[in-house]
Subunit: 312 residues, 2 copies
């Protein structure tokens, strides 16, 4: 089977939405990417770091999903990265209440030997220098994908630009794309980002879907209209996991197939937001994904002749 | 040819966007709906009212586009409806600077005899009692479509609910749908609106596209990603004109064909916003629309087998 290498946080989150509030629960970019990509027939591994306060049950959940966790370093006496946030009423924006870097502050990632030849590498949200260090360790993969956040634009822009220059695909949300480029139009923004390096630019618009840009081509996948979004945490990472998981499985990195990967990313993300944290992703079947794929098809596919039919 | 009857404002607009400012220019819901629907092989007519301050050149523009204007009453000594507004920097919201109802205040619409048997009736934004009066005059059309605004929810809700109960399709923007139903989820919101009467609910999300709801079916058309949106004025009405113009032309009001109508509505609206006011719609060719239809196809159409291809 093809191999997907995932780098990113494995963490504790405490989340508050209009629908409720959680204590410290399992979170982190690599966690969501791992759970999401595990829906595909691939070998996937996470490179990350936690403290010895991190419960075995969380690690064994990842293992049970078939994820290789050799690359998750457990720091003795260390504390796991912790984030807490509160979503506003429309769930489109949130305030960070607390961030404790803890063991992340001195993280030196080590890629497991079996994954040095990974087919696809997904660099989830982390310090750009950690992402760079992973790129330096691996052999040449078929595709490298980067996700990042405004936090690094504010605090480590030079390092971030270095890693952006080295990857094939970047996934970034709309506001971050605007911040990075100073362009309001997402079309102009994507063009500017492509000039920084990535051949493919994915702009995530949350409940408004995702855009894939490549040269002069554009593809758009909507988010599925849902009765209720309970918790958007991890939706972007789940999208990235679906996107890279699908590409890793079928090893076709053409633009046509990348469209499909964007649909799978949106498909998986539409489940993630239905419950708090990772709950929905822990209990998700392939049949549910297939059935939702049909919903995405009826939502978006149409059949128009180029010239409208004649008047009756 | 099939007939489309349009009711709505024919007006003066003064518009300010981050890109510039206009004096009093041609505007109004029925104007945009008329220009947009004129792109199809149909007979269309506008029912509206203006003052004798309304320039002949505006009326002859409508006539030149093939629009029947018998139903546009010209009130001697009256002043034409005037609206002025200023868009915020993101162009997603605007402040109304001034509204002068003028001749609209006492408007009693009279449907031209030749359009009493219109195939489709498009009730553009106007007082709901005016919209109701038009419905009472006409014979049973194949389809009635209503557009409205939050202004009438605030000021004439009972009358608005009466007209909503009588139409087949409603087009409404996302914030207005939320205001009308008290539901944040657009899916829940559409269901509540459908219970008020319309079998089809179209929710317009501006730059984020449009959703069509019918029973348990949903279809989504994105807005085309543009380099720059110069002026969103009239985009919703242009959408409605494309939607009803297409349906009138091919007389197929199935859900499948209504999907196509939503695509044509989005197609035409994507031109409207490229220049100030009606300018782009006055000079738009069928070839440009056909070519943009191809863009909509490549933007949204994909080809996934139900089961992802096997791992290599």
């Amino acid at each position: 089977m093809s191999k997907l290498l995932i780098v990113g946080t494995v963490a504790f989150d405490a989340i508050e939405t209009p629908f409720g509030k959680t204590d410290k629960i399992l979170g982190g970019a690599a966690t969501y990417i791992g759970l999401s990509s595990s829906q595909f027939n691939i070998d996937n591994a996470i490179v990350s770091v936690v403290g010895d306060d991190f419960p075995d049950e969380h690690l064994s959940l990842l293992t049970k999903k078939g994820i290789n966790i050799e690359g998750i370093e457990i720091v003795k006496g260390g504390k796991t990265f912790f984030w807490s946030g509160k979503y506003h009423n429309d769930l489109n924006s949130r305030d960070t209440l607390e961030t404790q870097l803890n063991v992340l502050a001195d993280f030196n990632p080590v890629v497991p030997k079996d994954y040095l030849d990974a087919d696809i590498v997904m660099l989830g949200n982390l310090h750009p220098l950690v992402q760079l260090s992973v790129l330096e360790q691996i052999k040449k993969p078929k595709l490298t994908v980067l996700d990042t956040m405004n936090f690094w634009m504010d605090n480590a822009l030079d390092d971030l630009l270095k890693v952006i220059a080295k990857v094939d695909v970047i996934t970034i949300n709309d506001e971050e794309a605007r911040q990075l480029t100073g362009e309001h139009s997402l079309l102009k923004s994507a063009r500017k980002i492509a000039k920084m390096g990535p051949k493919y630019v994915v702009i995530k618009k949350g409940e408004h879907g995702a855009l894939l840009f490549h040269k002069d081509q554009i593809f758009f996948a909507p988010a599925l209209p849902l009765e209720e979004v309970f918790d958007p945490t991890g939706a972007g990472d789940t999208f990235a996991g679906g996107f890279t998981g699908y590409l890793t499985q079928n090893q076709d990195i053409s633009f046509e197939n990348m469209k499909n990967a964007v649909i799978y990313g949106s498909n998986l993300a539409s489940f993630c937001v239905e419950k708090f944290g990772t709950e929905r992703m822990e209990n998700l079947s392939k049949d549910e994904i297939d059935s939702r794929l049909q919903e995405f098809k009826s939502l978006t596919q149409f059949d128009i002749e180029l010239r409208p039919t004649k008047a009756l």
